[in-house]
């Protein structure tokens, strides 16, 4: 099965040990997700690609209950759409990043919940290519 990253500024796919990527500025030290060609803090072009930690804690969250209009692009239809969790996950020592969550039950989401990085098939393109996206899932065993 052919697979690709939805956007290579987020993560490389396939990869032996996939991780989220960020730009780290060699001038001012700012770190921003995803990678870019310049620093969002100071504008310097001297940025390096770094890998972000794979686990952190849930900092803020909500659940997207209705199917978004275009530019949302998944393989879902109005009938098959499932609400999805959205949140900001705090990666210790790095930053908080916006991400889809694998959990969509508000009863199972709370600030401070330990989370870990995962990847899922967001859609299948017309040529059969599976388009991979990143998400965070609650660390197993933590929830009742």
């Amino acid at each position: 099965m052919k697979q690709r990253s939805i956007d290579s500024t987020l993560f490389k796919w396939p990869a032996a040990a996939p991780a989220l990527l960020a730009s780290s500025c060699s001038q001012c030290g700012a770190v921003a997700f995803p990678t870019a060609t310049s620093c969002k803090a100071c504008g310097s072009l001297a940025v390096n690609e770094i890998e972000l930690p794979r686990s952190g804690t849930l900092w803020a969250w909500t659940v997207q209950r209705f199917m978004p209009k275009t530019p949302y692009h998944s393989s879902e239809t109005a009938e098959t759409f499932k609400p999805y969790g959205i949140g900001y996950v705090e990666l210790p020592g790095a930053l908080r990043i916006e991400a889809r969550l694998t959990e969509n039950d508000p009863q199972k989401l709370e600030v401070g919940l330990p989370m870990t990085l995962t990847f899922y098939v967001h859609r299948v393109d017309a040529d059969g290519t599976e388009v991979m996206n990143y998400a965070f899932e609650p660390v197993r065993g933590d929830m009742q």
Binding site: A60, T62, F66, P71, S74
Partner: protein, 380 residues
């Protein structure tokens, strides 16, 4: 030199089938001109904008093509604020003495569907379902409620107040009061926010005639003066709408920056403000913006709302015309609607929803994508 607002006009907000956004803008402009007793041919310049309903200078097709410089402003939720700031500079520079500011819009039903590329984001951001301002507001609120003990009761009280005030405003869209239980139990959209806690994209227009302070009395007995008008964009690392990452440093957001700058410009503090119009895209936004604009400590809102302190007859009335919740949000018109309402209140001409006690200082605040805010402080 201060700039004076000497005429105001509004086109009712909501849905007006068969009337374009530009026509609604011209309608509001005619009322503002009439209010100031000014002929369109005497207006020396214009600033204005819409997000989705055309170029502001096209109101000339309705009012008459007089050849004046008319600049279209496209600055999302800050379109009205940015138009007013530019118009004030035009007057303060000495280039002109009498001008028009107009904002209008006409949006389709349902959530906005902005494209990531308009904000410098990759297509992926929209494709995976993050290009929704509602998610940001809900997630920010979820964190805020966790940190400061705000409850869903307070969220419902904000919406309940908005619809009560809207019922007293003949130009509002939502004019039927909704009780607390119905607000809380309506369909959940983005947890913890239900349907009645969100505003919707709508239609409408508002316009101002402004002039040099020293000639204001030619046009009105009750000029309202612009003590401050500022706009700010997001700083790196702040927690803002359409932000892919947030720094751990707690950087002040655009609203906090704009608010601080406005108080400095006006040389007043939040304790001097008699009433305020705050961005209430959803009911939690009003609550968070109360603190971000300096009107209370974080968490104090729960008690203030329970005690009715932000009601029309309270200590600090907020969103006296029903805000975005009761008026909807035609982006280009929304900030000028707040200013229109503030001028009416300062003139003592707000009818059934008039704030008591002859208020002298009013405050307006908008916030929107992708992390921009405009604040004005107006004085009679």
């Amino acid at each position: 030199m201060r700039v004076a607002i000497v005429g105001v006009g509004i086109h009712p907000f909501g849905r007006t089938p068969g009337r374009s956004g530009i026509e609604q803008g011209a309608y509001a402009a005619r009322l503002a001109l009439e209010d100031a007793g000014v002929a369109w041919k005497d207006i020396q310049f214009g600033y204005g904008g819409s997000y989705a309903a055309g170029n502001a200078d096209a109101v000339g097709n309705e009012l008459g093509l007089t050849g004046i410089p008319f600049t279209h402003v496209l600055n999302a939720c800050a379109t009205g604020g940015s138009s007013l700031i530019s118009a004030c500079r035009e007057i303060q520079s000495g280039a002109s003495e009498l001008g028009l500011v107009v904002g209008f819009d006409k949006h389709d039903r349902g959530a906005f569907n902005a494209h990531p590329s308009e904000y410098g984001l990759g297509d992926w951001y929209g494709e995976i379902g993050m290009m929704l301002t509602t998610q940001f507001f809900a997630a920010k609120l979820q964190r805020y409620m966790h940190d400061y003990g705000i409850t869903s009761d307070a969220l419902a009280r904000v919406a309940n107040k908005a619809y009560r005030n809207g019922a007293l405003n003949p130009n509002a869209w939502r004019r039927t009061p909704i009780d607390l239980e119905e607000i809380k139990s309506s369909t959940m959209v983005n947890d913890p926010l239900t349907k009645y806690m969100f505003c919707s994209p709508s239609e409408g227009a508002a316009a101002l005639v402004i002039c040099r302070e020293d000639i204001a009395h030619r046009f009105t007995k009750k000029p309202v003066y612009v003590r401050a008008a500022v706009m700010r964009t997001k700083k790196f690392g702040a927690f803002e709408v359409y932000g892919t990452s947030v720094s751990l440093d707690g950087v002040p957001n655009a609203s906090m920056q704009a608010s601080k700058a406005a108080y400095e410009m006006a040389a007043v503090g939040p304790e001097d403000i008699d009433f305020a119009q705050l961005q209430d895209t959803e009911s939690g936004a009003e609550i968070m913006h109360m603190a971000e604009n300096g009107f209370c400590a974080h968490g104090e809102q729960e008690r203030m709302l329970r005690d009715g302190e932000t009601d029309l007859n309270g200590r600090l009335p907020i969103n006296t015309d029903g805000g975005c919740l009761a008026n909807g949000e035609p982006i280009g018109a929304s900030g000028l609607r707040q200013i229109y309402e503030t001028v009416l209140q300062l003139r003592g001409a707000a009818g059934e929803r008039q704030v008591p006690g002859s208020p002298t200082l009013g405050y307006t605040h908008v916030y929107g994508a992708p992390g921009i805010s405009a604040v004005t402080i107006l004085e009679r």
